[in-house]
Symmetry: C2
């Protein structure tokens, strides 16, 4: 027998020898996935040619990344985020038909039981920050309004923190709400202008970002999940295009189509009708949902 | 500006957008390494097209692999081992000139302070197992003996356990020894025939092996580190070619040139001269060291 037939490992045949062991894998999908992972991993090692010390540094980095993860913190998701993998998986799983609004990452701060509120409610419960009026329509790809669409919104406050990050400081459910459209597909609610914020950067991922000369900030945004019967659920954000980090989101969540317009309105009459004390921000943004393809 | 110039992420430009952020990396090496890692990772994701659930399963697998690692156990090294990455890094860092003995992985069971013993000593301290006589020469690539070469040997016992895995059961330093050659370059010592053994398979790596239909065994072997002034240090094994797992080492450590011959000797005269009680195993194996190229 040749060395290859015996299954002995060499630099040249490394991928075939390793993946050749998976003939009896419990599923064809697992076998196919491990074939790709093994091949790309070996290609990377052959191109990088790590020293033994570099290899061991990588082992320690991955180990500490796992060890930093707790019930409250997921450092491997952060790693996936800053390497663009989370956005890539999101993109692959959410290829939308032409004209439909695009998706972006869910993020770790959604909670399932936010209260359903009457249209127009102010989701800012502590009066901190610059007033903002947000409105628009939820449409299908033919431009027709969708009735009974559910809009679930959540955002950071004017200091860049979500309520769940500041329990006892912000009221529970601050800057969260669920709204349901009527026959006209319109939504409107009040809030405050969100601020950019850093992803957690005191762990292995933060150290990596620092070593790469990258900052940890996400530009200001509002999160949405939009649901309607007969349509694909859309998980997305809208972003402030004037944010200092709009072109360098640490997790690559920004898309051209997700840029909203944040207009400064100085109109005492409109302010009064919205129960605002003075100038405010106005954001008008329509969402277009794709019909369910299942 | 085009979306690409603004640095917005798409499926098509994902690698360029992510690696484009590393312009100010703290070292050119880190920048180059992260370029390869990001590119191969994105290639893998694009080929696999994981669902969100599959992606999250991968996140949890890596997290648990880190969390299983302790001062005494390194599950990420095991993962590297079973995917052939450890052997690949070893191969890349130990390309030997023609005629020199080949390397293989160090493994986790070497200890630095094993005792130096007189040539011929029996490293089996508890009289358990089948007697074995091991001898050979340490040579340069011209076939000349190397004097003052240091041979550091360690092995599992006849049940497949190293002393450090059975503290209190095996004597300290059982089946370990350091020997130094004379002018003839010869070495000889006594031991017992080692047995195959499983790598730790009660963690994430064990579960992966099981799902892939792979066993966790390493074929029987002896570990060596060989050092001599003016020569490259050689970390290697010799293997029993008749072992049931010789063609399927869980960590891919076997190379054709590392197969030794384990001969069964039934010769009362030779047994008596070696202070063995009956038939024994004989292994004759020469090592060839490459001259230092630094």
């Amino acid at each position: 027998m040749e060395a290859h037939e015996k299954g002995f490992f060499t630099e040249a045949n490394s991928v075939e020898v390793v993946t050749g062991r998976n003939r009896n894998a419990s599923s064809e999908r697992l076998k196919a996935v491990m074939e790709v992972i093994t091949r790309k991993l070996h290609e990377a090692v052959k191109e990088i040619e790590p020293t033994q010390d570099e290899w061991f540094d990588a082992i320690l980095f991955l180990t500490r990344t796992g060890q930093l993860s707790t019930e409250w913190r997921q450092e491997f998701i952060l790693l996936s985020d800053v390497l663009g993998v989370s956005m890539l998986v999101d993109a692959i799983n959410n290829r939308k038909p032409s004209g439909a609004s695009e998706s972006t990452v869910l993020g770790p701060f959604h909670i399932a039981d936010a209260p359903e509120l009457p249209m127009g409610a102010n989701i800012c419960l502590d009066q901190k920050g610059e007033d903002m009026f947000i409105h628009g329509r939820i449409l299908d790809t033919e431009g027709k309004p969708i009735a009974n669409a559910v809009l679930d919104v959540w955002q950071a406050n004017d200091e860049g923190f979500y309520d769940v990050q500041q329990k006892g400081i912000q009221p529970d459910f601050n800057l969260r709400g669920v709204f349901r459209t009527g026959a006209d597909g319109r939504y409107w609610f009040r809030a405050v202008k969100p601020k950019f914020y850093p992803i957690p950067d005191d762990g292995t991922v933060g150290k990596l970002l620092h070593a790469l000369g990258r900052h940890p900030y996400r530009p200001a945004h509002l999160h949405y999940i939009l649901k309607a019967d007969g349509f694909e659920t859309l998980t997305t954000h809208i972003f402030d295009p004037d944010d200092p980090y709009i072109n360098s989101d640490a997790v690559f969540g920004v898309k051209e189509s997700l840029l909203a317009e944040f207009r400064r309105i100085d109109d005492p009459g409109r302010a009064e009708s919205l129960e605002f004390g003075g100038p405010f921000w106005e954001v008008e943004h329509d969402f277009v949902l794709a019909r369910d393809r299942k």
